[in-house]
Symmetry: C2
Subunit: 242 residues, 2 copies
């Protein structure tokens, strides 16, 4: 990491990668709400609320990715990024990530229309996700791309979650987990190529720092989503779903 | 209130006023965090965190008001709105609302520089307040103006809070309360003239409904601010200030 006297010196590639990886400490994998989810301590209504709120995040992702493309002057980066929109939105009748998330919603007993109406989305979740979309629209494409580096931290979480959910919520039909199984198959490679992209294009120390800040911001977004869910569902404190 | 068959009929002035006043149920006056504040159950660090986070709201208000003016084509409305910027920012060396909030910050033992650095601002608070500013920038001026109608609900809260704070936190020097005493003197009249402005300019049922929705949105913003504070300070659940 830098000291006061070399603020303007570009980090070596190894230092930069290390600065990014160090932010794993801010990642939401061990957030109290995730702990409850993974330990089978959510009741059906709470699990549904999680799925319905996380839907709002999922549905904003293709717009986030399009905003990145809209801000990027480099055709080779735009070409690399475009499949992400297809990944979320699907194409030619094959379901994308958003559709698979709706399958999970149905598997936990939610009506599709209720989820899509966003009636169950908590204000705090909406504000956090909107902040992420706004960040992608307003900030340089490299920073918005770097904010997606939470992918570096997620492979372990996704596999762990899938196992724990199968164990603790056996009433969820297997097809409900299609989002996770598809994502697990690709996220590690996607995260690696994303990191390479960021390392390649962060040419100054200021850009490197902005990428680190962007990843920290994204961790804040994710945590705020779970903070709101935890606050509004936690049993025994008289504040259950207001 | 309307029924399904008269959705397009403009509400009478009385109906419209009633629809707006009905949203007082969503106002943050009895939020659990406010209950703790008003009942003397915040310790010094929690009280400081409230002041430092609420600062972020206060500092965004003049930008919110300028965004309204920026979107408004009516000079008579712009002229009416302009003093609000001066109210927050001050003029000719006389302190505005923002400066008075910093006096409160100092009175509770915060360093001014620490507050202004925004280091203590919780992500959930930032996202909620940013959503409010974004709303004022993107939505028609009338809706952004209507979002400020929480002023209708605040006179009682401000007086009540001042009394409770003097009682429960007697170590706060009286000059720390200048924000509240100045605000109490004017908010009732300001709220009335704001309501008149909204009633006068909401010419269609759709505009009236949009104003009601804007006020509900604002209540969500304020609640989300306190949700984040309550979640990150509540004692006894092992989640104190992360």
């Amino acid at each position: 990491m830098s000291t006061a006297c070399d603020t303007e010196t570009r980090w070596s590639e190894a230092e930069f990668r290390q600065s990014l990886h160090a932010l794993e400490a801010l990642y939401w994998d061990r957030h109290p709400f995730h702990e409850r989810l993974h330990n089978g301590r959510l009741d059906k209504d709470e699990l549904r609320l999680w799925v319905a709120n996380r839907w709002y995040y999922q549905r904003c992702l293709p717009q986030k990715d399009a905003a990145i493309i809209a801000n990027c002057p480099l055709p080779e980066v735009r070409r690399e990024w475009l499949p992400r929109i297809v990944y979320h939105d699907g194409a030619d009748g094959s379901p994308g990530g958003a559709e698979k998330w709706l399958h999970l919603a149905e598997a936990v007993g939610l009506e599709r229309a209720e989820v899509v109406s966003e009636r169950l989305v908590l204000p705090g979740v909406r504000f956090a996700v909107d902040a992420y979309l706004d960040f992608a629209r307003r900030r340089p494409w490299l920073e918005a791309v770097a904010s997606g580096l939470t992918e570096l931290f997620s492979p372990g979480l996704l596999s762990y979650r899938l196992g724990r959910m199968r164990q603790h919520y056996p009433w969820i039909a297997e097809e409900g987990f299609a989002y996770f199984t598809a994502r697990i198959d690709m996220v590690e490679a996607e995260g690696r190529s994303l990191l390479d992209l960021v390392v390649r294009h962060a040419e100054t120390r200021a850009q490197q720092q902005a990428c680190v800040d962007a990843l920290a911001f994204k961790c804040d977004v994710l945590s705020a989503v779970l903070d709101a869910l935890d606050y509004h569902t936690e049993a025994g404190d008289g504040r259950a779903v207001r």
